[in-house]
């Protein structure tokens, strides 16, 4: 037997509102530790290389997702790279309109096979193109704290 009666007055459709308070720590791991330390101390990108698959991971991983081998060959990549895709984001995390458009891109650093997800800066909307060459801009050394935000953004190489 299905529902014989339903709430049929809007104002009687009651609901209880709640929220879930969640706080977590997210361990960067062996590979992440090295990646962020290299950015913090030297303003350089470190990746891991799988010789078997001829694939370089940036951000690095200690295993190859293609052949499942353990990776311990570290290589330096970037800081220049090529934009593999870009988007102009116009909504904030909560879905409301952004005041300033946010340009996000997939950046394939020179020497890497994977891409890095980050912002583009100092670029006009009409200059944006897949294939454009960009370089990383890091925060001043003393402000770096071992996070992906130690990279301010990527800018066109000729900027």
């Amino acid at each position: 037997m299905a529902l014989l009666e339903k709430v049929d007055k809007n104002i009687e459709a009651r609901a209880w509102q709640g929220e879930i308070p969640i706080q977590s720590r997210y361990t960067c791991g062996l590979a992440g530790e090295k990646f962020f330390r290299e950015i913090m101390e030297n303003g350089r990108f470190a990746g891991t290389h799988c010789a078997e698959c001829e694939y370089t991971y940036v951000p690095p991983t200690i295993y190859c997702e293609r052949c499942f081998a353990k990776l311990d060959e570290w290589v330096e990549v970037g800081p220049e790279g090529t934009v593999q895709s870009f988007t102009v984001l116009l909504v904030a995390p909560d879905g409301t309109p952004l005041e300033e458009p946010d340009i996000l891109a997939l950046i394939q650093l020179d020497g890497a096979d994977s891409v890095l997800v980050h912002r583009l800066g100092k670029v006009g909307l009409d200059e944006l193109a897949i294939g454009m060459r960009v370089k990383a801009v890091f925060k001043p050394k003393k402000e770096r704290e071992g996070s992906i935000l130690d990279i301010v953004h990527f800018v066109p190489v000729n900027a």
């Binding site: 709640g18 960067c28 895709s85 116009l90 909504v91 997800v117 992906i148």
Partner: protein, 383 residues
Amino acid sequence: MPKEVAIIGVGYAGFRALTPEVSYKELMYEAAVKAYEDAGVDPRRDIESFVTVAEDFTEGTSIFDEYVPDQLGAVLKPVHTISGEGLHGFIAAYLQVLTGAMDIVAVEAHSKASNILTPDEIMAFAMDPVYNRPLRANPHFIAGLEMNRYLCETGTTREQCALVVAKNKHNALYNPLAAYGASIAVEDVLESEMVSYPLSRLDMSPRADGAIVMVLAARERAEELSDIPIWIRGVGWCNDSFSLENRDWTNAIYAARAAEMAYRMAGIRTPWQELDFAEIDDTFSYKELQHMEALRLCRPGEAGLLVEDGATEIGGEFPVNPSGGSLGMGHLLDASGLARLLEVVLQLRGEAGQHQLSDVETGLAFGWRGLPTTSGAAVILSN
């Protein structure tokens, strides 16, 4: 693949933007009652096992699998929840019957999207906490990046994507279950508010509430209980690398691999000839095109041209999403794939009403788990 397992009952409730008059449990109960009635089974007596599909964060609780037995008639019975796409749950139910361990199994998926007050924040919470989440960007940027890459790589245009929206919303006008049927033009989509270039507001499927229950049975029970059993001929599922850094940004490789598995099982070599129609994920307009290519319903880069030619309309050579898809029916979160499959069942039974296709024998359903996943599942049915 011989006829081993069939769908003998389907039930559904909701399929509206809001369902304030019922709780999610009552929505599920209503869908379950209809499915059991349709199948001619008593859940307390006949159904041996239950599979549900849910994700804690969209439900707003922890350990949601504890919340499902009562409204399905599953108390004190084998029951488990799959945190995946609706079709993943369906395949799990199918496999239970295929092993011979169970004769009759029910599967359920639902969306109470209207109760979720921070949907984009939940989506953002699915991104990598170390490498991606600190950017504090609305996760729709991932669809923007992917769409831009897809358009650039295949030569597909924004206009062709907009045609998908117009087609699906038009199909939805003929589907009483669809919440977002509309007669709109390509320009409406192109001129709608930009969310993450080149993705506009109307390129995105709006959310809806709904619940779907299906009853599956082994051959002998199916033939005994049903006059129109719908046979499961092939299933497949696959995940690409989850990381934004390592996934394939051009091809929906998860869809290609999931479909290959299902085609192999069903003995299908040339899908566009051997299938009669398809209901595939269209969470975003370009996704329908990208998925068509991955599912080998056309050649790479050709999907946009087919839409332009009207080949995927209800009266076309190969109808895609005659139900209206998620763009026309509303996106049902993880129940979306099961909604696609529901339409395949109704079409194969000849019960699709005003949008019934003629002479259909075999159909494909494909579900994608949405942003930011690379998780897909395919099911092939025949009558």
